[in-house]
Symmetry: C2
Subunit: 221 residues, 2 copies
Amino acid sequence: MGTRETQNRILDAALLLFNAHGTAAVSTNRIAEHCGISKGNLHYHFRNKQEIIQSLFRRMVAEMDAGWYRDHLVPTLEHMAEMHVRQLQLILAYRFFYRELADLLRQDPLLRRRFAENRDRRLREIERFFRSLAEHGLMRIPDDEHRLRSIVDATWIISDNWINYLEFHDREVTIDAILEGYYEVLEVLRPYLCADPQQITQESYRTIERMAQRASTDPDR
Amino acid sequence: MGTRETQNRILDAALLLFNAHGTAAVSTNRIAEHCGISKGNLHYHFRNKQEIIQSLFRRMVAEMDAGWYRDHLVPTLEHMAEMHVRQLQLILAYRFFYRELADLLRQDPLLRRRFAENRDRRLREIERFFRSLAEHGLMRIPDDEHRLRSIVDATWIISDNWINYLEFHDREVTIDAILEGYYEVLEVLRPYLCADPQQITQESYRTIERMAQRASTDPDR
């Protein structure tokens, strides 16, 4: 088995176990056992749990990058709903990370720096998307740079915390629950969107329903 | 030393240690040692770490209740800035809880229920405050109950996560940093506030500066 393949198996197992039990309760030995490889073999690839977490974060960022780089080329409100669902799906896939975010970042300055860099890049991408919506007459964005940044930031904080929020309330991640989170984002944006609110809501519902169905029939997602 | 007094000393020590090192790294033995009491004495008051965390949460809710019950009687924009600072101060005092929130709640169904109840009560209080602002001509709130709830919820999610967000970015909790969080909340509310945005910003700045100075000269806060 090649190096890359072994590393991926280790990361897959770690992700599964971290999501199920939290990082504190999962040792590198347990990850090795779950992969059916020796402890020595695991430590040949990753010095410690921290390095595994860092690699999982890098993988998550790569998946984000794959989706986001051309969002501003599709400046529609339908696509905005898709962006929201895509981000929630990613958070779901790496939910241990979002559950333990504050603690993980506090313990690891390198991870903290990478997280901050990724976040800043994402916020700039969303700003770019909003400007693209504005150019197509779908949004009126404030002239003041700071105000625009605050609005983008607010929507991002809501998205980032929505899955945690559902867990806090013992709620499952259903289409309705995803939609509810998106309505909060829309509520923040509503004063700046040019389309009819009723129409936005209906389009968002259809988009989210369609994406959720696609996800449930596609085992790789 | 009375029961209540011992319990408070244990809780004070636990809070200090949890904030400094995280709950996973702090044993009940270490808390007992820090108080200068025996392990047996600590376990007479609290069966385990979970019970200590639950008690700290109860204490935090009691402190919230003490501040919040009459907010709707002071429906001014100045007071709204005060509410924001007060909440951030509480989060700072109990920051381990907000850092580890998702993980702590996942592990403890009782805590999860109490957290959800407290959150719902708070959101209703903020709605009440907003309605009071509206009655005094300071705010135009949407007729739709769901929309109002989404707006309140959005501001709450931002406040709840602001201190974590500063930590993620290696930033200190300065007046400017607190103010920046409040501007994001204001940005969400801006389309619904009737006063001049410039005036709101200036008033908020003065209020937050005043409260921060009071906090720095009052060692009990």
